[in-house]
């Protein structure tokens, strides 16, 4: 008989349940290197089909299954069961409106992403082939472009919990910096204008939960620091 894993999973259906509760499940260790998503899939397919959670690629690329795992945000699909203290507490991303069980409303998160205008803005005439970039300039995008917008960083940020209506959060600001450092983008001034705000940018108090939570090992705190330095150099 295979080893059993105990999970304590957040359950809540607004409109039906009076308040959220934690439900315990026992799942067999199916294979070595089994991930948390495998355990959730087992629960859904073999034990309780009503459990709701988001998933898609299953390999840490799509960013659908951002969850709070034993108190730390991460992606279920790349989090190995081994090494997790049991019972494994699985909760939705913190400070988010729960739609059902582990599914949260990401609208506000993506609204904030849209506010930083995450696309190339250039007024110079389009070259015959493409806008070229030197390997050195391309290298500046490393550590930013890999973001999969899973929301693990933003929802782990206490500043965002307190002032999420105005503070853009680490994910959106990491992407703001991604376009600020892009040599092909010509809207740096506008981009800096858009984040120069006591709440939108400066609510970051360098708590660094974001870099701790990021499943892609990115560093939004450093990106935010770079934007602040850009603003200072523009003024000084």
């Amino acid at each position: 008989m295979s080893k059993m894993i105990t999970l304590s999973v957040f359950r809540y259906e607004p409109g039906k349940d009076e308040k959220p509760s934690m439900q315990t499940f026992e799942v067999p260790m199916l294979k070595p290197g089994m991930k948390l998503l495998d355990a959730l899939n087992y629960i859904k397919w073999e034990i309780d089909g009503t459990l709701s959670y988001r998933r898609s690629c299953g390999e840490g690329v799509c960013g659908s299954d951002g969850l709070n795992i034993n108190g730390v945000n991460g992606l279920a699909c790349i989090t190995p069961i081994e090494g997790l203290k049991q019972p494994i507490h699985v909760r939705p991303l913190p400070s988010m409106q729960v739609i059902r069980d582990l599914v949260v409303d990401m609208d506000h998160f993506f609204d904030q992403y849209r506010q930083i205008k995450p696309w190339l803005q250039a007024e110079s005439p389009l070259p015959e082939h493409e806008r070229l970039q030197s390997p050195e300039d391309r290298e500046l995008l490393d550590g930013s472009y890999e973001c999969i917008l899973c929301g693990c960083c933003t929802t782990s940020c206490p500043s965002w919990w307190w002032n999420g209506d105005r503070f853009l959060g680490p994910a959106a600001l990491l992407q703001a910096n991604r376009w600020i450092v892009d040599s092909r983008d010509e809207a740096t001034g506008d981009r800096l204008d858009q984040v120069e705000d006591a709440f939108r940018l400066y609510r970051c108090h360098q708590i660094m939960n974001c870099m701790d939570a990021c499943p892609k090992d990115l560093n939004p705190t450093a990106a935010i620091g770079h934007i602040k330095r850009k603003l200072v150099s523009r003024k000084s």
Binding site: D111, W162, N163, A198, F199, V232
Partner: protein
């Protein structure tokens, strides 16, 4: 696509951030000095008259003034951020920040008066 209705940037925050860091640098240099002076007094290296001579010297007064100004600016910026973080109702937040400004301003002026012996 959802329409984002948000007020945009207030173009503020940079000067707060800048002054908080600038005052921190000044404090890092000047704040150890009074502790050093206290250490000298407690160890017996400086007696009461010696302490008064040091404090009365114009260079000490200037440094002391800079220290108090930096302390006021730094504390005001820090406490303002804390109030902004935790007090969400503007009807509370703005009067609280204003009260803090008045109290700290009064304290700073009183201290400066002591340094320059106006009182």
């Amino acid at each position: 696509m959802r329409t984002v209705k948000e007020p945009g940037s207030a173009h503020s925050g940079l000067s707060d951030w800048y002054w908080q860091r600038l005052s921190a640098v000044v404090l890092a240099f000047l704040l150890p000095l009074p502790f050093f002076l206290m250490l000298m007094v407690f160890s017996g290296a400086v007696d009461q008259q010696g302490l008064l001579d040091i404090l009365d010297h114009v260079a000490s007064r200037v440094l002391h003034t800079l220290l108090i100004l930096a302390l006021m600016v730094h504390a005001y910026m820090g406490l303002k951020v804390i109030l902004e973080d935790y007090v969400h109702m503007l009807a509370w937040r703005i009067p609280l920040i204003a009260t803090m400004l008045v109290v700290m301003g009064g304290f700073g002026i009183w201290w400066l008066a002591l340094i320059w012996a106006w009182a």
